[in-house]
Amino acid sequence: MNYSSYIALIPLLPLAGFVLLGLFGKKYFKTFSGTIGIFLLLASTVLALYTAYQYFFINGKVNDVYQSIIPVKYTWLQFSSGTSIDMGIILDPISVMMMVVVTFVSLMVHIFSLGYMKSEERFGTYYSFLSLFTFSMLGLVVASNIFQIYIFWELVGVSSYLLIGFYYDRPSAVAASKKAFVVTRFADLGFLIGILILAFEGGTLDFNTLIQRLTDTQSSQFISITTASFLGVSVLTWALTLVFIGGAGKSAMFPLHIWLPDAMEGPTPVSALIHAATMVVAGVYLVARLFPVFSINESSLHIVTWVGMFSALLAAIIACTQTDIKRVLAFSTMSQIGYMMFALGVAHKNGETGLGYTASMFHLFTHAFFKSLLFLCAGAIIHLVHSNEMQDMGGLRKFMPVTHLTFLIACLAIAGIPPFAGFFSKEEILLATYHANKIVYVIALFTSGLTAFYMFRLYFSIFWNKPKELHGHPHEGTFSMKFPLIILATGTMVAGFIPFGHYVSSDGKILETPFHLNFSIAPVLFALTGILLALWMYKKESNRPHRVASALGGLYHSAYKKFYMDEIYLFITKKIIFNLVGRPANWIDKNIVDGTMNGIAYSTAKISGWIKGIQSGKVQGYALYFFSGIILLVIVVLYLWK
């Protein structure tokens, strides 16, 4: 166990990149900024891979069980003797896995952006933000302390804010960045309160100690947190649900998903980063990190399952109707994250029942490859077409063969066609749900069909269909843009063959995940149906999509409108919060609180006016007051107040 502190460099190198580029990027490095960012991150990636190698193959195991190791830990803020925020690095299967994913995907995005953002004026700033984003996410995944995760959680939020609002002179980008931040902030409130409850009940903020205390049925903390209840629900359920709300916010689970489509306002490579490796998987990671605690509490797991399930289905339905390619991808992310969530929800602590856990993490892993690939492809396409709308595209396969091919690979992967990565992970998830909950299984199966449909709808509309007029000489991007696509496509093809259960499992032991041919027939059939349907509708230009849409009528329309979620939110915020809370608060302040103070002043002046008559200017009046004053005082002193 000789992890020296070089591990700390993994997150710190991107931080250095952020500081360096943020302070000097614009003035001194200019176009050189990208290279600096890439090299720093490359170093980070190499270190992460080395760490993974060390951990998984050399010294991560004790008695065949992967241990949770904390090689670096500093006390950051001491609250009381037991509780403190520590800045540390935890090494366990999921964190190591995530470290690799984050650095790798981020590196690809960095490289891709070199070409994509070339002409951008704030090139240095862009890279510094990317570095910050990477740093935040790395800090999040290695967090050994629940508050550390919250800190980086917030930093992830602000990085996404900065990147989504990167084109700050577009009002829509500003609004989208604000929306993303506020919605996730709202969710973070739940997370924060959840942390407070857990920290209070567990008496610590340290993950390992916390998990150990709260899962040990003999410990006083466990007894207290499970027996105490609030509004009839046990405190543990409350805490976990609140933590899950935080996760749901970042992971865009229903009903906190509304920021996700708008977040497409940012530069496309950023979307790749957000969707594949950073922000949105943070919620899944959080649940996975606290999984031992979740696993002893059925009710919270049910919530995770159903929210994940519903989000997956809802997003898939909406994705079928969207016309903006990035939005389709965004909803597909939401749907896939839903998969990961309910996979976690159906899992249990030990052995075979923990399959969902492994499956979820596996899916997270494979999803990172194909989703970043999809987004980068989309970036390349948008770079060429200068539009996000499907109707502006068509027949692009001639102009961009590399993109076409890699996109197809990614689509097949996400649709769950063997032997691409998505197939394996998705199959594991379905297997896990099949054993745990048949209803979920059926819906998941249906959703996977939908997934295949909307992905191929996208594919056919972009690359086939009727070619659109493109001005200039359309050509694929530079090498720096093609290179990441190829790498990621390779990853997508091979990632599925990793025996994931050997490395990541709910109890740290090796979990064999045998391949059942019989079982995988159904999902593949569903996927193929979806693909064929898409082929039928979108391969050539026709009015079939239109006919189908009008046949579905209201359903289509409301799915197109994202089931009016935005409108509902707008109503709540604008009408209810703004008008019913903000405005009255302001009114009260202006009129009642302030009015009281002014009223005191006013009435003092008024009284002063009333009594001015005493000073009549007439000596006799003065004498009268004088004399009556004496008499009154005598009466008071003698009789009234002795």
Partner: protein, 501 residues
Amino acid sequence: MNLNLLLLIPILTATAVLFCKGLKQVRTVSFLGSALQLALSFILMYYYWQERTAGNNAAFLFEDNFTWFAPLHINYHIGVDGISIAMILLTSFVVFAGILVSWKMEQLSKEFFFLLLFLSVGAYGFFISLDLFTLFFFLELAVIPKFLLIGIWGSGKKEYSAMKLALMLMGGSALVFVGLAGLFFNTNTGDGSHTFDILQIAQMHIPVAVQKLFFPFVFIGFGIFGALFPFHTWVPDGHSSAPTAASMFLAGISMKLGGYGCLRVATYLMPDAAQQYSTIIIVLSCIAILYGAFATMMQTDLKYINAYSSVSHCGFVLLGIGMLTRTAITGAVMQMVSHGLMTALFFACIGMIYDRTHTRQMSQLGGLLKIMPFVSTVFVIAGLCSLGLPGFSGFVAEVTVFMGSWEHKEAFYKISTIIACASIVVTAVYILRAVGKAIMGPLAKTEYGLLKDAAWNERVAAGLLIIGIVAIGVAPFWLNQLVGPGAESIMNNISNAAVIK
């Protein structure tokens, strides 16, 4: 380390300013004086650490005590603990930055800088006082310069705001006076005489009935300074009418006088009453936090936004004090420091924007990031600090308050903590709204395109404040260690009181 230097340097600087001619001399002298003071604050902190590491465990260090008015048992007694040092550092940062941003104050420059420095004397003196009279003296010292600064150099309905501020603050200090007098006459030094000495009073046990009677006076009195709901109405008007440096001082330091007073006088000296009234304090501060935040949401003037958000943020200070746990009190002090730096930065930034565009209305601003990247970036940083982003001081302070508040078992405390927590969402809304409207978006007016970015003095001022904010945000442990023992001794007093009863 002789603490009198902390008073002497600003006084001498202020006096020197009186003999200067012209803006250039005046500002050079003020700059040097405040720089010296800043250096001195750091030296003080250095010596403090040295004493502490040498094992000096006295509650207060560098004490200086001499009899002032012997017949009334009034002493000039000064000394510092970690809390005071934190506040002194804050003050010297803000004053230094304030002088830098007023670099081009042409109108009556001599008077302006004199009053600013004079104001700082009040703040420094207040933070080092260990005698209630001395403390009160410095508290009131810092009121009238504010009135003049706002009234003469302010903007908008400045006379009204200045008058309102002066009257409300004076009202506050009048209440404080009643409380102090009440405390004084219920002390007994053993030979039947009374004392104003904070250390001595802390050792005594003032009868609970007396505490209950006078605690509200002291607390509300200081609370008015610290924007306690519903006595916060001077805050928005005062801040928004004041000139930049005065706003910085007002929000950055002056409001902290209230918090510090609540802590050092009300809670420390009347622990029983503090416990009795904690429920009310918590309720009021929760109202302030949430209600201030919602009121901020409705503002359109940048200064009003920051002023109302100060109400909300200072609610955390009072909440921390009301919660009466070591962590919460530490958090309250941290919040004071953090809010001081952050809000000073915010006001400096708004001042820079106003100097250039001559408007503070959000509707007339927009797209400033393009033409004034530095100012805009600073604005965003201040905003992010305000909404409690980790890495900046605001987060550290708020989280400490939350953690401290949550240490109580009863549902009441939990619920109030949750209410306070809820403000982080509202804060995000109004901060991002301001940033989105004023800084981002398309350029509001074409003539803004010609505006210049920050000058060196503004850069230094903002940079300094940001360094302070980040230093706390990234490495909070030093502040925690600085403040912790002070909070500890206050808590000891409270728990002792609970035992004696």
